[in-house]
């Protein structure tokens, strides 16, 4: 016969997910709150004066984002500060924190853990999706205009002797020579590499170089300015208009 499920059994099971231990930073509490992927959220409690306490995440959310390959732009950080404020918490450097009294520690720990998790949720914005899908998006747009005259990931040798894989190469009507190199720039992290690539390929003046960037990404006006020194820079939304002149 199946044993009846009791209230205390469930309560014990859920309470068992909260664990506290002393570390050099203060008392660390792991709570039943998860970052994307399954890492549990931990907050630390420190005394602050006679009767006040600080509950903070020891920069755990920011460390989590770094460990899954995410670098935050200053705009994103600003946005996340607003998210944290919705939980009544503040950002002190990379820490999510909240002051409280002794009686409030339990609630404050829960609030800080959830605010910290809200930052960690930024990991759901997978860069792969951004980079991979953006690359495909640009290729689709080029192909829509030039049809079979597109070549993908073609190897091209730069003036330095370095070789590059150009994401999209547009061929002339006879499909013998290249007339344009088109690179997708999904995020700011791609800017430096593509600048170097186009600068190195710059001696080949007959081939037009175009960087198509995602205007909704972390790319800044100064990045666009930098890329414009080695070719044309076009936001994705306007790319079709610019590519149309390569139509047969």
């Amino acid at each position: 016969m199946t044993k009846e499920l009791t209230v205390s059994e469930i309560e014990t099971a859920v309470r068992g997910l909260s664990v506290a231990r002393a570390t050099s930073l203060g008392i660390e509490i792991t709570l039943p709150v998860l970052f994307p992927g399954g890492d549990l959220v931990t907050v630390t409690v420190n005394r602050d004066g006679e009767s006040e306490f600080i509950v903070h995440d020891s920069s755990a959310a920011m460390m989590f984002l770094a460990s899954v390959g995410i670098t935050l732009s200053s705009d994103t950080k600003k946005r996340l500060r607003h998210v944290v404020a919705k939980y009544g918490c503040e950002m002190a450097g990379d820490r999510v924190m909240r002051r409280c009294t002794r009686d409030q520690i339990g609630v404050a720990a829960t609030i800080v853990a959830n605010a910290s998790r809200a930052i960690g949720d930024h990991a759901l914005e997978l860069r792969r999706r951004v980079e991979h899908e953006f690359r495909e998006l640009v290729t689709d747009r080029v192909r829509a205009v030039v049809g079979n005259r597109i070549r993908l990931n073609e190897q091209v040798i730069g003036a330095s002797g370095r070789s590059y894989r150009v994401s999209n190469v547009i061929l002339a009507a006879k499909e013998e020579t290249a007339i344009a190199y088109i690179e997708p720039i999904a995020t700011r992290s791609a800017v430096a590499n593509h600048f170097a690539e186009f600068a190195d390929l710059d001696e080949n003046q007959k081939v037009e170089k175009i960087s198509v960037f995602d205007e909704n990404s972390d790319i800044r006006p100064e990045d666009v300015k930098l890329l414009s020194k080695v070719g044309n820079v076009v936001p994705l939304m306007e790319s079709e208009k610019h590519l149309r002149r390569f139509a047969a």
Binding site: L17, V19, R21, T23, S24, L25, E28, T30, L34, G37, G38, D39, L40, V41, T42, S58, S59, A60, M62, M63, A66, S67, V68, G69, I70, A92, G93, D94, R95, L126, R127, R128, V130, E131, H132, Q155, R162, S163, Y164, R165, S189, N193
Partner: protein, 151 residues
Amino acid sequence: MDRFHARVEVFLVSEKIATRRYRWRIKNNREWLEARAIIDVVTAEPRSGLGRLILTAHRYRAPRKYGFALTYMGVPVFRLDVDPGRGHTNIKDMVTVWGTHWQTWPSMDAEPDTRCMGHNRWFYAFLERAHIRYPYPYDPPPLGYQLDLLP
């Protein structure tokens, strides 16, 4: 199996090399550190530059807390969390693993490791399991003291 999944599988089992040395950077509130190196498949020519070795370390916490991650196209595909001070709940089987653990693509379920080692030995253990050759000198994280946090 989608194309990305297939590429990750090849990347993970391929012999890889760090093509740039990592350098520790002290982050915003001086509480933690991050270092990155570019990782490429040894036989790939030209280099794709799509892999990253990401090291993190808390400067003040004791027991020491270290993170090692290998990403491919910005997606974490292999991780090691050393004494993270928290558990990891495997989403599929709902088992929680406490303490040091490894995670491998595609499940990224935590696999516990009960060994006690210094950063140096964890670093080389990570490289070995990730099939990465790091041809530069090992650089330990510049850890600080708790007193640095005081105003």
